[in-house]
């Protein structure tokens, strides 16, 4: 069994999907953790934070070499996940041949389990928008980014950029929809990734299911709350 044979087999491809999926899940933890810093500005915490905590965290991420290297890995992971996902979906669709006149529908499986390709595509579209909004200015163009000084270090005011971006209702709506797609994608993807890695013990699987469901809810909700909170000016 050569490496090539392994990774081009149906199980190997699933493995790639699962591994990149889990990698992206860990990225989501970091991402949501940093983004959640904007909530430091909530009145209950510190009305005067004004994005300081978030901006510092963002600056740390942008200025640390190791993380910048990992960012490359992240993009590689995303691209692999996307390309492999599309190839698999295409191949799987072809293996049916003639379609059923009366599809099974939800008779035995969940709609979101069957719609990973569609949900993934929605997330991809969202991702393009999202990168254009924040990642491109932060890394390259610096358009719309004011400098801000914390502890004598000059940083980009990403918080300000978010406030401006999320003052538009349609953008907020798109972001919430993006989070919604992410939620359903994770609902299936989280536990499915572990199955693909070979976790078969029923006790472990049901635990993973619980964690997966909790994770999907918390992460998607936190992400969705950020544009909403900014639009409604709970923060900033």
């Amino acid at each position: 069994m050569t490496w090539k044979q392994m990774f081009t087999s149906s199980i190997g491809k699933k493995l790639v999907m699962g591994l990149t999926g889990i990698f992206l899940i860990t990225f989501l933890i970091v991402h949501v953790g940093i983004n959640a810093c904007v909530f430091a500005d909530l009145p209950v915490f510190n009305r005067d934070d004004n994005g300081e905590m978030f901006n510092k965290a963002a600056h740390f991420m942008g200025s640390t070499v190791l993380i910048r290297i990992m960012e490359i890995g992240l993009f590689a992971g995303i691209i692999l996940h996307i390309v492999q996902g599309y190839l698999l979906t295409l191949q799987n669709q072809k293996s049916r041949g003639v379609a059923y006149n009366k599809p099974m529908g939800n008779n035995g499986s969940k709609w979101y389990s069957r719609s990973m390709g569609l949900l993934g595509t929605l997330i991809l579209l969202f991702l393009i928008l999202h990168l254009a909004h924040f990642w491109v200015p932060a890394r390259f163009t610096h358009v719309g980014l004011d400098p801000v000084l914390y502890n004598n270090v000059l940083m980009h005011d990403m918080f300000q950029l978010m406030k401006i971006t999320f003052s538009e209702l349609w953008i907020v709506v798109l972001y919430v929809l993006g989070c919604f797609s992410l939620f359903w994608h994770l609902m299936h993807g989280f536990q499915s990734a572990f199955r693909s890695l070979g976790i078969s013990n029923k006790k472990h699987l049901s635990l993973l299911n619980c964690i997966g469901n909790g994770f999907s809810v918390i992460v998607s909700l936190l992400f969705a709350l950020i544009p909403i909170a900014m639009y409604l000016q709970w923060v900033g």
């Binding site: 392994m6 149906s10 041949g97 009366k102 099974m104 070979g198």
Partner: protein
């Protein structure tokens, strides 16, 4: 049990042979006793068709006890029809109501080409077993049956996987037409037993390779296979096969 007679409309896939394009035909099934099995209803319909000088509907069936795995209809959007843990031959007309229209299709998968009407060619399953779904022991080699104690839980789990009847409902139900539930059931059956140990790695590698070669899709863990399996084979067998496969391919030195 109270029984009554009902009238149904049947929309059935007709296809003369594998080269034909095929189409749906509609038939009236009149005065059907709810005590009948679904296939007995087809028997009655076929008798009528023959008397009318038409070609009867071809379908696979044999034991009609839910164990041979030969019957294979996709009934009203579900392999083997609306009952769970059931085969078409054991589906009884009690499951339907007066005036229902029932759509009957063959298993749909590229790896299961239609032979005629509702019959499909499932020899791909045999080839997957040929690739390694056995213990290589020649007749006459065995030691005493009790010289190999097997933990009851493991024996039971192995039996639960070995119950697979090879009907192909898992493939028919899967949106990817994946044969992983079938393949994993055999991999699990043998991997859970000490007898299967010597060939454990080659078995899973070869069976998966054959499965891929046959043109089945890849599993995306939707669970549809498990939901329609007449023997309720658990989808966790697929996860077990994944782990067997990964450890086998990592351990192989080639």
């Amino acid at each position: 049990m109270e029984h009554k007679n009902i009238n149904l409309k049947l929309k059935v896939w007709r296809q003369k042979n594998s080269n034909d394009n095929g189409t749906f035909e509609t038939y009236d099934a009149k005065n059907i006793s709810t005590e009948m099995s679904f296939l007995e209803m087809f028997d009655v319909l076929n008798e009528d068709l023959i008397k009318e000088g038409k070609d009867p509907i071809a379908f696979d069936h044999d034991c009609r006890e839910g164990i041979c795995g030969m019957c294979s209809m996709y009934i009203d959007g579900r392999p083997h029809g609306p009952w769970t843990a059931n085969t078409t031959c054991q589906l009884h007309m009690r499951a339907f109501n007066e005036g229902d229209t029932v759509v009957v299709e063959p298993w749909r998968a590229k790896a299961f080409p239609v032979i005629k009407d509702l019959m499909v060619d499932r020899s791909a399953f045999d080839r997957i077993i040929q690739a390694g779904g056995y213990v290589s022991v020649n007749t006459g080699n065995a030691v005493d049956g009790n010289s190999l104690p097997i933990e009851k839980d493991k024996a039971d789990a192995s039996f639960a996987a070995a119950m697979c009847i090879g009907c192909g409902a898992c493939v028919a139900a899967c949106k990817n037409s994946s044969a992983m539930l079938f393949t994993s059931a055999k991999v699990s059956h043998l991997a859970l037993l000490p007898q299967g140990e010597p060939e454990r790695q080659t078995r899973v590698l070869n069976m998966v390779a054959q499965m891929d070669k046959e043109g089945f899709g890849a599993c995306t863990n939707t669970g549809a296979c498990e939901a329609v399996c007449p023997k309720e084979i658990s989808i966790s067998n697929i996860a077990r096969m994944n782990s067997e496969y990964l450890s086998a391919s990592l351990n192989s030195e080639k």
